[in-house]
Structure formats: C-alpha cells, structure tokens
C-alpha cells in the first residue's frame, strides 16, 4: 500500500520543500484515500493544508493549453491596456494585453495592477490559462508573482506578408501592406495625461480595417500606401484593429492598392471571423426581436429604460427613440442586424412622432413592433456596417440598409448557364 503511493508522497514532500514529516503526510493521505477522495484532489488539499504551493511548471507560449494551472511564463509585454469590467455588478479594473516569447504570442489578462508597461520582460509564476475566443489566454491572478527581468527576448520573426483579411486579434509581428483611406489625430486620456495618437481606416484590395498609431509619423497620411512590419492586432469594439507603435517599421511604397468591395458576401463566411469592418450583407429578415420599435432611453447614459426609471440615474425624463433588432439570414448563416431610428424610418417609413401616435392610438406597446414586423418580415434586405461578436451574439450594427433591386432575369440566366456548363 505504501509503495503504491510513494511517488505521490514524494511529490507532496517536494512541494512542501521537505519541511513536513513524511509520517504525517502518509497518515493524512491514507485518510483521504479511505474517504475515496481522488488522488489528485487529495494531494492538492494536503499541499494547501501544509501551506505549500503546487510547483508550477515552466511553459513556452506555443505549448500552453486551455485549463492549465500553475505555469511559469517568461516573456515580453508587447501591449497592455487598462480595462474596467463589470462582474456581478462590481466594477473591477484589470489589465489586458499581449505577451510574446521566442515561440509565440498570446493575449493575457492581469487581474491586479502589476505595473506592467509595453517592452517589459517579465517572469510570471502561478499563471493559469483560460479560454478566450477559443484561444488559450494567459491569466495572472492574486497568486501569481511577477518579476521584471533585465534580459532581452528574441521574439519570433514573422516576415511573411499577410493580407488584411488574415489578421486576427492577438497577432504580433504583423507584416502587411495597405493604402490609407483616411486618418486623423485623436486625443486620448492615459494615466500619464492627454496624448496624441492617430486613428484611421486603411484598405488593401478586398478588406478595410481600422488602424491606430501610437506614434505620429509623417508617412501616415491619407492616400499613402504603406508597408509595416512589427505591428500588432487588437480588437477594438469587436473589430480587429491594426496597431503601430515605437518598435514598428513603417515604409512608404510607390504604388497604390485599389480597394474593391467584395460583393455577394455570404453571412456564413462572415460569421466565422472575429469581426469585420464596413461590409455589406444581404439576406431575408426572419425575425423581429423583442425590444424593437418605439423605445425610451435615459438622457444621461442612453440606456434603454422603462417607466422613466434608469437603473443608474433613477428617475429621469426619458428620450423617445426607435430601433430594430432583427435576424437576417441568407441560408448560409444568420446574424442580428441592428438599425437605429434613422434607418428604421428609412425602411419602414415611420418617424418617431408617427410611432408615438401609433402607440397611442393602438394603446399597445407592441403596435410599432407589429407594424415593423408586417413591413419587414420575410423580405430581402441589404445592410452595411461592422460585424462584431459579443455576449449578445453576432451583431451587425448598420450604417445603411436598403431593399436590393433584385435583378431576377440576370440572375436566372446566370444560374441556368451554370447548370448547363
């Protein structure tokens, strides 16, 4: 019996730095095993009881797996942003960013302020790995120890030229080319005060993407075609955004990339991406979701409210608004389409005033929603906007929506030709 769990005893002793009498450990472990506690859990609880910690194992970033605990990481902070999240109605500040080592790069979340800055090379113990968008993400929690190191890390060299459509949240060392469509100076507030950065939209032959540059470079001007190396990608409002910083290499090219909007995008192909900027989808409206029609908003925070009560600002004078949340589906995929009051008016032909009249006459909150249903359900629409994924599913917030002309003859001939050919 003792021989059977001898290796486990060794593990426990090692974890406790051999400071505890072996007999005590054996007695405790036996007892737990008599209670049919699984051996791993028994070991874990004993180590904890004696104040030890499970020895964590060093991992390279390319080898980490979702669900791993107690791992040690050494890497360079490539980017870090402070974020405020709401967990069970408690506001919490955390830090999210990208860390890279010789093998790979991963997104990370630090649940405490470890005073990290881009460029820091750090060693982290007792980190754990969670699932973020189906990718492993390193997490630093209260038990993690972070030490800044005075060494250099050779990040993987990735000089392969990528298309904008291939870029994913968390990519580092990105090498790509684009033409700048528009760009402007933006003032942002950081912990070191106000700061000037550049924000704009760039495109290659088939994809548009937002960019942020943390350095003010003269090459970054509208109309210029640029090659960049050593940039990184982070999602901003659900859309992958290319970031240029101090260590990026920016070169102006003597050519132009002509953007051609992709026509006939399938929703099924769009929704497998993380997010998409300024795309057009077309499909049938298959459902008008509750909360469509005439709604009330808080004048302070624009939250949707009921009976003049905002859950943040108490009793307020509501502002009337209209919106449509609809499912659009083209037979390859479905997503939630959101239309604001301007677009609701455009495609349903009712103003907010008319909507209020309809509600009053019908004495029903649902009158406008029913009217929208009658006008839109089953019909084919096209919409332009940004696609993002979040806790409310896959959403396209429209900047325009219209009924496509439907060139039936043409399409029919084309299809018949395809069958014959």
């Amino acid at each position: 019996m003792e021989i059977e769990f001898a290796p486990h005893i060794e593990d426990i002793k090692r974890a406790l730095d051999n400071e505890i009498e072996e007999e005590n450990i054996i007695a405790d472990l036996k007892k737990l095993l008599e209670y049919r506690v699984p051996i791993n859990e028994a070991k874990r609880s004993l180590i904890k009881k004696y104040g030890g910690s499970e020895k964590s194992a060093a991992r390279k970033l390319k080898d980490i797996r979702i669900g791993e605990r107690n791992i040690d990481i050494t890497g360079q902070v490539i980017e870090i942003t402070e974020k405020t999240v709401n967990i069970k109605n408690i506001e919490k500040t955390l830090f999210s960013g990208i860390i890279g080592d010789e093998t790979s790069s991963r997104s990370f979340t630090a649940w405490l302020d470890f005073d990290l800055n881009p460029g820091d090379v750090i060693s982290v113990t007792q980190a754990y790995v969670k699932n973020w968008k189906e990718q492993p993400e390193v997490n630093f929690g209260p038990r993690s120890k972070v030490t800044k190191l005075n060494i250099k890390i050779q990040l993987p060299e990735d000089f392969e030229l990528k298309k904008l459509s291939e870029l994913r949240d968390g990519d580092i060392n990105v090498h790509t080319q684009f033409t700048i469509l528009n760009i402007e100076v933006i003032y942002i507030n950081t912990k070191d005060g106000s700061r000037k950065i550049l924000g704009g939209i760039v495109a290659d032959e088939d994809t548009k993407l937002p960019i942020t540059s943390w350095v003010l470079l003269p090459e970054l001007a509208a109309g210029n075609t640029i090659e960049v190396k050593n940039t990184y990608v982070r999602s901003f409002r659900g859309v992958p955004t290319l970031n240029i910083n101090e260590s990026s290499v920016v070169t102006k090219l003597e050519k132009k990339l002509e953007y051609m909007e992709k026509e006939g995008l399938r929703i099924g192909d769009v929704i497998i991406k993380e997010g998409a900027y300024d795309i057009v989808v077309e499909g049938n409206i298959l459902s008008i979701r509750p909360g469509s029609g005439l709604i009330s908003r808080c004048p302070e925070c624009s939250r949707v409210i009921q009976k003049n009560i905002c859950r943040m600002h108490g009793k307020v004078d509501e502002i009337k608004d209209m919106r449509i949340k609809a499912i659009i589906d083209d037979g390859t995929g479905a997503l939630t389409l959101v239309l604001d009051s301007r677009l609701t008016q455009k495609i349903c032909g009712i103003t907010i005033e008319e909507a209020q009249k309809i509600t009053k006459t019908a004495v029903s909150h649902k009158a406008v929603e029913d009217d929208i249903k009658r006008k839109l359900l089953g019909r084919r629409f096209a919409a332009r906007g940004n696609m993002s994924k979040g806790e409310f599913g896959i959403t396209l917030v429209a900047v325009d929506a219209w009924e496509p002309p439907g060139t039936i003859q043409e399409q029919a001939q084309q299809l018949l030709g395809r069958i014959a050919g």
Binding site: I87, W111, K130, N131, G268, D269, I271, I272, N284, L286, S287, I327, D329, D330, G331, T332, G333, A334, L335, G349, D371, K373, R374, L377, G378, R379, R380, E391, F392, G393, I394, G406, I408, Q409, Q411, A412, Q413, L415, L416, R418, I419
Partner: protein, 295 residues
Amino acid sequence: MEKIEKIMDREIAWRIFSHEFNMSSLYVNEGDERAPNYIITPTGVKCNRLFIIGVVTEIENIGKDNNLWRVRIADPTGVFTIYAGQYQPEAAIFFSELNVPAYVALVGKARKYEPEDGSIYLSVRPEEINFSDEKQRDMWVLETAERTLERIKIIEDALNSGLTGNELQEFLLQKVTNTALLNGAMLAIQHYKNLDNTLLELRKTITHAIETVSLESGIIKPQPGNKEEPSKLEPKEVLAAIIDELDTGKGISFSRVIEIAQKAGLDAQTVELSLKELMDEGRCYEPKIDLLRKV
C-alpha cells in the same frame, strides 16, 4: 471570473425546395426529447429550421375542438404542408383570415408525422409568417436554386471521390465550413440509395424552377400542364402591389393608382371595389381626399 456563457449560434434557416424536402427519408433526433429533430435531405441538409416564400393554395381547418389549420404552400417544384395549431396562435390567426391564392413568407421547423399505417409525412410548423409578393418569391426561388446547386456539387464530388468513413469526412472538410452541412452530407451519402440519380433529377427540377421565374416578369404565363403554378392574382392584390410600389412614405394620388391599374388590365369599377376591400381590410387608407397610403 466565470467565463461568459456562449450564446448558442442561431440555427440557419435552410433554403430547400419542397420537392427535395418531401423526398427526404432520414430523420435524426439528437439526445433528449427537447433536442431539435432534424430531417436529412438528399443534398445533405441537416434541417430543423427552414425559410419558404411560396403561394398558399389551400387552407383547411381540420381541428375538431381546437383549431388546427392545414395549409398548402406551393413553390415551383411542389408543395409544402404546413400545420398550425393552438401553439402557433399567430400563424393560426393569419391563416384563418387569409384568402387563397396569396404569396407568403414563412419561417418554420421541419416536422415528421407518422400515422399508424406506416407511412411518413413531412410538414412544417410555423415560427413566423407574413405576406410576401411575387418579386420576393422569385428572389427566394433563385436563392434556393443556388444553395441547392452548391449542395448537389458537394455531394457529387464526394460520390466521385469514392472515399468512405474518415477519409470522406476529411475530404468534405476541405469543402464545407458549416458543421451541420458536413454532418448531414455524411449521413445522406450513407443513407440514400441511387443518390447520383436523385441528384440528377433534382437538377432538372431546379432548372424548371428557375425557368418559371425567368419568364417575362409582370405577366404570369402559366406553363401548360404545370398544376402548381399560381393562378392569376386577385384584382385587389394587384392594386395592393401598385400602391405598395408607388407609395414611398408620402402617399400616392387616387387618379395615379387608377391610371396604372388600368394599364395592368383592371377597369375603373373593379379598381374602386377592390380599393374599398383593401381599406376595409385595413391595408391602405385615405389620410386626405385623393391621397392613398399603404399601411
């Protein structure tokens, strides 16, 4: 610190012609009773939800105590059977007030009905229903044709590859990103006998369907011997379509409606009667003298 629970992706509403739908003979029920039922069609659709635009040709109240409606919706290849009962009140009310023939758009779920005699009937249980029109129907036919042709191509390639089992799955993974379709294609290839012939027949049906909508639009020319082709629209539906077309939100003058209706072959008296019907049904109204607005 818990992971935000992933919202289930909404199931696609598949585009399938009634011909293909009705010849399906494979059914899958995944796990417990509350899991959705699927039918597997010959082109490999693992279908729960589907979307149809067609012509209602028959409405029957077949319920004894409570209302149960059996409705036939035709597309150019055949007919879907729809059942709407007490648990689909909106659809039941919609059908109870509907005059045939009428263009409708319907989102529904595939159902299987097995009476004791061993036969099996496939039907659709409505989730959402609304009026539609000829143009929307034509666009549906073309889209359904395109989607079906894509699926046929996938199955044909799979059959021609001669692969089976895991190798076939690997082969299909190169062509299909949708897991439901991948799964359905594997099942269809295993289940359906003479699948190559079935697909050939389906291609012919699709060609015919495309031809029916590519005829001179505006004037309906029923094809000789095609029983499923919708009959001529009622005058009031023609009028409703005209008003719908011309009213961009500001209304349209009475005289203009009459002028266009006459071009479409309706006499003044019919126009007036039909307009009254439309107003009675609340489908258009007269906010001012000589001004018509759609609702």
